[in-house]
Amino acid sequence: MSYIRESVPSHSMKRQTLSNVLGMKKIDRESRETVGAITSSDTRISCRNVNVFYGEKQAINDLSLDIGNNEVISFIGPSGCGKSTFLRTLNRMNDTIPSCKVEGEIKIDDKDIYHRDMDVVPLRAQVGMVFQKPNPFPKSIYDNVAYGPRIHGLAVNKTELDEIVQNSLIKAGLWEEVKDRLDEPGTGLSGGQQQRLCIARTIAVNPEVILMDEPCSALDPIATAKIEQLIAELKERFTIVIVTHSMQQAARVSQRTAYFHMGHLIEVGDTNQIFTNPVHPLTEDYITGRFG
């Protein structure tokens, strides 16, 4: 509370609390301490004091956040604020960047994913990821979806594999559109269909968490609407972390929202509260369009 500006006499503590509740700006604009509840009642992923460096440059500063079971949490913030970097630390996709270094503690189901003994292969099967640009493999639609189950040996025979592929495509809302042309190349689909194919590919390995890195930024509004509808259905089964540039999208799909600014997690809270009543001045600037 040390960052709260002493704009009212210190003896009237009641008034101060009240003004906080009313959303009056009590927080110093320069404060980089996270505002809001970083904990969750039913924690699935727990991050404490995470720092990420690209070589000398620090991309994430001392970030702590819990992500709950079966919740949709969206990360918003201006470009380069570290939201995608943080997303990629959750399934160690940053390992592919040689200069990237992660400090701190990230636990999924109480297992430290940056522990020496952690194998990234099962981790990434457990934490799936959908990318900004649809990236189907240059294989058939069927093989795209069957790829994950095959490499993880999830199906004993062809019938089981067929079933997994069909179920995944149904869950991704793509089955009706492609059921007659499963052996055509996945790259021949439209952008929105390709992205849903990538989602089907991700859920085919039966992950617990799905990370989505701006999944709609390369899509038109209709395809975006379909993906958002899909997210609403998927949250029944999966924990979803979504990075987005569209505040409307964050407001539509997520229960919790986290606002990032220059590598700091500025504010996190209930999506409604963030968009109607942001506490931190930086969050308010971003939400109201004064910044970013």
Binding site: N91, M93, T96, P98, V120, V121, P122, L123, R124, A125, G128, M129, F131, K133, N135, P136, F137, P138, K139, Y147, G148, I151, H152, P185, T187, C198, R201, T202, V205
Partner: protein
């Protein structure tokens, strides 16, 4: 006036034309350049192009026609008995005359008829060159004046210059095509002559190659046998050995360089690998003949095999090393061109690095890899120097890599080296072999390009 001085004069005229055109264009609008249709420089280029190109064309035609006309004129002046000589003897006489004119034969050594003819030739030549200079420079100045007169405020000089530049680029780009056509037609013509003395079927499917033919009618033996199958099998055998070396090593190094190696190692290793492609093939040749072949022979003898000192194996191995960079460098580029997003997609599904390379990257890069291998094959088939030095000359019909074999390219070299009659089947056979080689490598290249093109867009 010699043609080279004329050329310099033309360039000076072009320079003058540039400033004349520019000045006139600026003068048209009294210095207000913005009212001109094109920038002043374009008017300059327009005039200078007009003052050079027609004049150059005339010079070119003149230089082509001049010798023909002069030969006729000089021949007409020769004594009766010389004119009636058979054509090839007459050519020799004319050659003598030209040699005297050029100063390559001492004038005192030639007889008076030749000397007279030579002085006649010389006087004609200088007259012709003076005429050419006057005509060319006159034409150049006339064109300059006319094109200057055509310049006015709204004249579209830029469009005219752009058209000329486009034409120039079209000519440049078709030079390669016309060269290819020229080579093909000359090789095809000589091969046609060859196939008049040796049937096509005997050439393509004959099993016996011994191209020595009698040069004089009193020579015995050496009737010549032109069955090219031993050469084809030899070429095939050596290329196969080379590809067995180059494809695995090249591909593995490409995969290592693009997927596993750190940036520092890659920055050193890739150029080093490409140095292999820069070593002259002659150096590879004596490396194969003096180092590898004896080593193979001694190793083979130690194991109780009979290995000839020039073997297909030695030549093939060294050639394989030579074409490693063709496979590795091209494949490395292709593998690097596979988008990072595909790798990310596979890793995000929990694929290991090996699975990603085998199942995602390799299939996506396959068309390019196949293309690089086919290019390497056509390089291997066309390679000559290593084989001349290390594979031997005997046309054995064998698939035993320890024996000496000979290849199409080696035979072309041996058929055409030394003093030859250029109308015997022996030398003409070289053209037929060249034609076969050309057709095969052309088909391989076309096929490689087809594959690369057909599958290129799959991941874009």
């Amino acid at each position: 006036m010699s043609p080279s001085i004329l050329l310099i004069l033309l360039l000076i005229l072009a320079y003058v034309g540039f400033y004349a055109g520019k000045k006139r264009a600026v003068g048209c609008v009294e210095g207000k350049v913005k009212f001109l249709h094109s920038l002043p420089g374009f008017y300059g280029f327009y005039v200078s192009l007009w003052s050079v190109i027609p004049a150059l064309l005339i010079t070119l035609i003149w230089l082509i026609v001049e010798p023909v006309w002069m030969t006729q004129a000089v021949t007409a002046q020769l004594p009766e008995e010389m004119i009636n000589l058979p054509p090839e003897r007459l050519n020799l006489v004319l050659n003598d005359i030209r040699n005297v004119v050029n100063g390559s034969t001492l004038a005192t050594q030639s007889d008076s008829v030749i000397l007279d003819a030579a002085s006649h030739y010389e006087s004609l030549q200088s007259l012709s060159h003076w005429l050419m200079a006057i005509v060319t420079i006159g034409l150049s100045m006339a064109c300059m004046w006319i094109s200057c007169q055509r310049i006015h405020q709204h004249y579209r000089a830029r469009n005219a210059v752009e058209k000329a530049v486009t034409g120039g680029m079209v000519i440049c780009s078709t030079i390669a095509i016309f060269t290819t056509l020229g080579i093909v037609s000359s090789v095809a013509y000589e091969s046609f002559l060859f196939f008049q003395s040796v049937p096509v079927f005997d050439f393509l499917f004959g099993l016996d190659w011994s191209p020595q033919t009698a040069m004089r009618s009193d020579q015995v033996g050496s009737s010549g046998a032109f069955g090219a199958i031993p050469l084809f099998t030899g070429t095939l055998l050596v290329s196969l050995i080379a590809m067995l070396v180059a494809v695995p090593i090249g591909l593995m190094s490409a995969i290592y360089l693009s997927e596993f190696a750190g940036p520092t190692f890659r920055a050193t290793a890739k150029p080093t690998l490409e140095i292999l492609a820069g070593i002259p093939t002659v150096v590879y040749g004596f490396f194969a003949a003096l180092t590898v072949a004896p080593f193979i022979r001694e190793t083979g003898e130690a194991m109780g095999l009979s290995v000839s000192s020039e073997s297909a194996l030695a030549a093939g191995l060294v050639m394989g090393v030579m074409i490693i960079p063709f496979v590795s460098s091209l494949s490395d580029d292709v593998i690097n061109a596979v988008p990072q997003s595909l790798r990310d997609g596979a890793y995000a599904l929990g694929a290991t690095q090996a699975e990603t390379i085998k199942q995602i990257i390799f299939p996506a890069a396959l068309p390019g890899i196949v293309g690089s291998i086919l290019l390497a094959v056509s390089r291997a088939i066309g390679e000559t120097m290593i084989l001349v030095m290390a594979a031997g000359l005997s046309a054995n019909l064998t698939f035993n890599p320890f024996e000496a074999v000979t290849t199409v390219t080696v035979q072309i070299v041996t058929l055409l080296v030394g003093d030859q009659e250029f109308d015997s089947p022996k030398t003409l056979a070289a053209f037929a072999l060249g034609l076969v080689l050309f057709v095969v490598t052309l088909m391989l290249n076309v096929f490689a390009l087809y594959i690369v093109r057909k599958y290129r867009e799959q991941y874009e």
